[in-house]
């Protein structure tokens, strides 16, 4: 199938809770998972293809994902190998703004980007959480993620003692 054709046909996807979304082929091909699926359908299949069911993505998250892929559909997407090498020094201001959302949405977005195999989106969203953790104390991280301290005083003392040996000067 020629995926570089100038016209950009409509494609529909259905979320886990049954909502249908319309987007374009060029956008949806940013998802490695869907790209594989469409390539298997073969020549001319796209026009006759029905809506693609995405059982692991709910409608709220799918809406966010579609917003992102439509914005980036004309950009050259780096491969996962290229992303691994990248030292994360520069984020497109549009993406920075796009990622302003609460943690629960972010978790769903990460899970969806992982399932749909969109390396750049996975990179952006996981990095976003990492940046929230950066330079925080253990207590600050606990309140960030809303988790309980399950160490006993003896245990934490032992962990801290060994940690002292790992700290950079």
């Amino acid at each position: 199938m020629d995926i570089d054709r100038p016209s950009d046909p409509q494609v529909s996807v259905v979320s886990s809770d049954g909502t249908m979304f319309h987007t374009t082929l060029k956008s949806i091909l940013l998802s490695g998972t869907i790209k594989d699926m469409i390539e298997h359908i073969g020549e001319g299949g796209v026009e006759n293809m029905g809506a693609i069911p995405l059982q692991n993505v709910d409608s709220k998250t799918l809406e966010i994902v579609i917003k992102w892929i439509e914005h980036h559909k004309d950009n050259i997407q780096p491969t996962s190998e290229e992303i691994k090498d990248k030292t994360a020094d520069f984020i497109d201001p549009w993406d920075e703004n796009f990622l302003e959302m609460d943690l629960d949405k972010l978790y769903n977005l990460i899970t969806a980007a992982n399932y749909l195999n969109i390396p750049q989106l996975l990179w952006l969203s996981t990095r976003k959480i990492a940046m929230l953790i950066k330079n925080r104390t253990p207590q600050e991280i606990r309140s960030l993620f809303n988790i309980e301290d399950d160490w006993t005083p003896q245990e934490i003392e032992a962990v801290q003692k060994e940690n002292q040996w790992c700290e950079e000067k």
Partner: protein, 385 residues
Amino acid sequence: MDKLPKELWIEIFDYLKAKDLIALTECCKDFYSIIIDTKLMKKFTLHLKNDNFEWLGERKYSKIEIKECNDLEKYINIFSAVGLNVLKISIINIQLNSGYLLKIFKCCPKLQEFYFSNVKIFEDIELQSLDNNKIIERIVFEDSSPVIFKLFINTSVKEIWIDNKCSNENVDFIPLRDLLKIQEYLKELRLAYFSINTNLFNDNVLDFVPFRLEKFSMNNVYLGIESVARFHTFLLNHKESLRFIFLQSPFINVSFFNQFYFLEELQLCHTNAFFEPFENIKKLQVENVSGNFMDKFPNAEELTMIYKYGVFLGMYGDLVKLTKLEKLTVIDSKIPELKIPLVKKLKLKNVVICHKRPFKYEENSIRELYIESCNTIDWIPDYLA
């Protein structure tokens, strides 16, 4: 944390440095076990100094540093316990006997990277080469006893960095000539601050075949005048594989660079740009290079300029000729007037700008801007402020 599967937490934590991972281990037991059981442990270095250390026996360290220790014997237990996973060892400011060094290496069979800095060896047992099937990624050797090289005679080393800035010891006798096995694998060689008078180049020591050097750097290496021709031959022998050369050395005539027109990456220091254009260069760093060098690199995409002693010399509007430039870094300079092509990434550090609007830019042309210790930021376009 059940919001995400473990693999995705690992991806998240992978962006963080040891300092933040340490905070996470103290957070809760789930995070602790994710970190100490996975590839993330590679970011930790175990630092052994003159203190008492209690090892809990859970963590698999892959990097160890020993620094300024007098009583090394007490650490042998730790080495035998964690050594199996250790890939990188750093030994710093230590005098030790060779028997002890061999003991350490015996405990760490997987070592791939060695860093010696100011290590003095007393050879009580003759040093033997490590396992001859071993592939070593890198040896960094600073101001240490040359006898250490005996350890690597039969190993396959990819990179050797030698820097003898502070040492009075004569390293001319480093047995590079004997390192036949090393030569087969060596891809990168960096030499700094020592004198190569006659031995290294003149006796065909570096003429050895068949290793394929990809990167070569020579910084403040004194090359005896009679070695220059040999040195040129040496570099030409590696012409096919070399991708990067860095030279900062008197007695090297830059015009000889003309034969390296195929290079893609180049660093120049304290030199005059008298050579022919390098059409292939994509990444360039110049330090105190005078003259109009811009014409020589028409296809450069990345340029770093360092001018420690002040003004760009001969630098009036030339940069505009670099039409393919995407990333520009300027450090320690005074910019009288500078017209810059439309770059995407611009980094300025310790730069004095003497002109009101030194930079030409269009809306959204600069996508990344980094400024540190500069005199004025008046000219920063609104959309970046």
